[in-house]
Each structure stands twice: as structure tokens, then as C-alpha cells.
Amino acid sequence: MPRQPRTAARNCRRWCVIAALAGLAPASHAQDGLAERVAAAQMRLAALEQRAARVDDINDIENLQRSYGYYLDKMLWEHVIDLFADDATLEVGLSGVYVGKDSIRRYLYSLSGGRQGPIEGVLYDHMQLQPIVTVADDGLTAEGRWRAWILTGTAGSGSGGHWGEGPYENEYVKENGVWKISKLHWYATYYVPYEGGWLHSTTDAVQAYSEGRGVTPDRPPSVQYEPYPAAFIPPFHYPNPVSGQ
């Protein structure tokens, strides 16, 4: 089965539209207004092309963030790290902020005792749900709010596993036509044992889940908050889409 031809052909197709339009000097010789109509159609098409490109950006970012989830599930750390821009930041729950790929790598490997790949007996599923992706007009940066729904567990631990849940407010950057994660920030709502579920919830459990093991972050947590049962609204990157407030 062929690999996904990724964006090369698609980018080329888009380039053809833009270049074809840009290559046309505005017609200066009026012929019964025909040249003006052609010029107007060129502009309309260029505008439509921009709108299509922004929708395509949203699709790419959804694929990117969902792939992050599938890689995280299996602790495929090098694949996770590949998704980040060089100067990206990562902040998970109460982990503090890890800056740059080297720091992100230190954090991720610390979670699995320095190894990569799925570990027998360990479940580490992180479902990536409910995206609200907002792309900047220039198509070079974007923001996304998502929800992680987490199922973890260790066979033989005596527990049925853990639930975790909380929203992301992430940022993305397009470099050389490819979207990357520039900021990953997961706000913990809860991380609780399977038994009893969210009937009881402690900050300690969130800390134990999200903090690096034996590594220190480059910066303290960027937002001070307590997980459930404390009341807290992770800030939204967008205004209300209806009221605009």
C-alpha cells in the first residue's frame, strides 16, 4: 500500500493556482470590459483559494493532534518529538514547562524509565477529542482546544486502572508547508483511580501522573490552578463564536 503522498502534490496543486493567478498581469487593454471581468474573476478565485487553504489547514492540524494521541498511547517518543517545532514548549498538568525538543525528550523518556515503545502490562491510552481549531488568516499559525480522555493502567497492580480528563489549549506553526506543534498545554481536570472514578479526586494523583520522573522543567507551571474538585476554567483561545464576547 502506498504511503500517504502527504502534501507535496497537494501543495504543488495549490501553488499552481496561486502562481497562475499571480503570473497574470492585470490586463491593461480594455476590450468591452472583458479584461476587467477577467481580473475580477482572478481576484475572486484567489480569495476562494485562500479559504480552501484554511480548511485544509484545519484538517492537517486535526490529523496532527490525533496522531500525537496515537503515538502517546504507545510511548513512541521519537514520533511524538517529531511533531514538535524546534522551540516548542510542553506543559502537561502540573509538570511545569519544558522548552525545546531536548527538554521535551527528557520529560517524555522519564515517564517510561528511559525506554521507548509500548510496555507489556501498561495501558496508556490518550483519546484526543472535541477539537476547536482556529487558523490565523495568514495560515502560518493556529490554536486548538481539545479534550483528552485518558485510560491508563498497570496489569497486576490490583487496581482496575485510572481515568484522566482535561482540555488542551495548544498552538501550532506551519514551517515549510508542514504544521507542527509549537505549544502543547494540557490542563488537568482529574486523574482518578478506576474504583470510585471521579467520586473522589486529589491534586496528588494529578501530580503523580503528570510530573516528570527525576527531571526538572525549564519553567514553573504557566498557570496556577488546582484540578477538580476545585473550580477552574482553562482560558479559551477564542471568543464566543456567536456573541463574539
Partner: protein, 259 residues
């Protein structure tokens, strides 16, 4: 007509590039009005090509959404044991492979497989929820085939008797026939199935074996054990940024098995 259209889409890039060159040459400033007329005609020709390219791009965006809908629709039908509606989503030569039940070839066998699960339609006292989440969608450049990786999260139940969680990953293939997307190969990998009382980490099912009352046409295409064993369901795509495709010795899922 379809073949002509497909050929057109494949040659569009070359044609556009060629037309662009012509346009750039033709658009060189000239003074006489005859040249002006030629200039406008060339501009219209280039515009037509650009419209065709844009149309193709918008079609791919629509494909993306239709595939997302189709994946979700499958789940909604399965929830309610709408077995014929499920089977209708498959191409005539569609294939189904779920957990360790083996491979079933062709829409008729898909229909048998679905009917084998339960009587048709929802039943009082039975819960069969199949949430389909987290789709990663890639449409082939020619717009005629696609792959979708998605997540399954299941809630089974017989009221007052038992309740279960289930989870898995799909790697599905789709084909477009007469302008309609259909399931070509539905492949569900098992992560865990467990009783609600226990939770997934305490006890989870081994791979589900083929039904004795409905033997498959072919064996499970990828041998593996579900959680607590360590297993990465093969990805149909390389890393979205680096394009690396080495996933623990299984670079890609195997092609759809053949009868």
C-alpha cells in the same frame, strides 16, 4: 467519462505549469491592441485551468468530511444493531475483519457477519454502544481511495446482568465508486475488553477467536495479543512531520488480505 476526468486531474499539474509559462511569455508588456486581445484570451485560459485546480482541491476537502461522516455513521448503525445498514456501507468486494474473528470477503459475507452478532435492531435491555473517535484521514491524490485510522470505545450491557468496556483501533480503507465513498476494508484491532466491575487493568479478554457458528473465509491477517501484551496496531501513514514510518518493526499495515 470518469476515466477521462481522472486522466484530466492527473495531467492537470503539468498542464497548469505549461500554461503558466505560456502566460508569462504572453503577458510581457506590448503596446499594440492586437496583443491586448491575445493577452486577455491567454488570461482566460489560465484562469480556467486555475479554476479546475481549485475545484479539485475543494473536492479533496469534501472527501475528508464525507469520510469522517462515514466513519461516524458506521458507529451509529452498529450501536443499534442495524446490520443491513452497516453492510450497505461496504463495497461489493468489501472486507471485514474485527478483533480475532477472522477475515470475511465480500458484502454478502459482511452482512452474514453482522447478522451473526445479534437479531437485527435494538433490543430492550441491551446496550451496544460503539463510539468512533479521533479519525486520522488521508485521501489519495486521485481522490478514489482513502485510509482512516480511528478509535473505538465501547459500552456493552445487558441490563441488570452485566456491563462491559471495550476499546480498540481501526485501520480502515475506503473506495469511491460512482462518486460515493464506501468501506473497502474494515479492520478493527482489539485493545481491551473488560467487565465494568473490574476495570481494564485488573482483567481483560484474550483476543476474541473466530465464531464457531460462522467460520471466517481467512485467518486473522495480523497476529497479535491485546493488552496486557504490548502491541502497536500498524499505521497506514508515516509521521505527519518527519514522514518516518518505522513503527516497531511494522512499518505499515499489511495490504487488505485476498481470498
Amino acid at each position: 467519462m470518469r476515466a477521462i476526468l481522472e486522466m484530466f486531474s492527473k495531467t492537470l499539474l503539468l498542464t497548469s505549469a505549461l500554461a503558466l509559462l505560456i502566460v508569462l511569455v504572453a503577458c510581457a508588456p506590448r503596446e499594440d491592441s492586437a496583443a491586448g486581445a491575445g493577452e486577455t484570451a491567454t488570461a482566460i485560459a489560465a484562469l480556467e485551468l486555475a479554476v479546475a485546480a481549485a475545484k479539485l482541491e475543494v473536492q479533496r476537502l469534501k472527501d475528508f468530511d464525507e469520510l469522517e461522516n462515514l466513519s461516524g455513521i458506521y458507529g451509529h448503525y452498529v450501536d443499534k444493531s442495524m446490520h443491513d445498514d452497516v453492510a450497505d456501507l461496504f463495497a461489493a468486494d468489501g472486507i471485514v475483519e474485527i478483533l480475532g474473528r477472522g477475515v470475511f470477503y465480500g458484502q454478502d459475507r459482511v452482512r452474514q457477519y453482522m447478522h451473526n452478532l445479534s437479531p437485527i435492531g435494538p433490543r430492550d435491555g441491551a446496550l451496544f454502544n460503539h463510539m468512533h473517535l479521533q479519525p486520522v484521514i488521508h485521501v489519495a491524490e486521485d481522490g478514489q481511495s482513502a485510509h482512516v485510522r480511528s478509535r473505538l470505545f465501547v459500552m456493552f450491557g445487558i441490563v441488570d446482568t452485566n456491563a462491559q468496556w471495550g476499546s480498540g483501533v481501526y485501520e480502515n480503507e475506503f473506495v469511491k465508486q460512482d462518486g460515493v465513498w464506501k468501506l473497502k476494508y474494515l479492520h478493527g484491532y482489539q485493545t481491551f475488553y473488560t467487565n465494568y466491575e473490574d476495570g481494564w487493568a485488573k482483567r481483560s479478554s484474550a483476543i476474541f477467536a473466530p465464531y464457531e457458528r460462522l467460520p471466517p473465509d481467512g485467518p486473522q491477517s495480523v497476529p497479535y495479543d491485546p493488552y496486557p501484551a504490548a502491541f502497536v496496531p500498524p499505521f497506514h501513514y508515516g509521521n505527519p512531520v518527519s514522514e518516518r514510518a518505522d513503527y516497531y518493526g511494522r512499518p505499515q499495515p499489511p495490504p487488505a488480505p485476498t481470498p
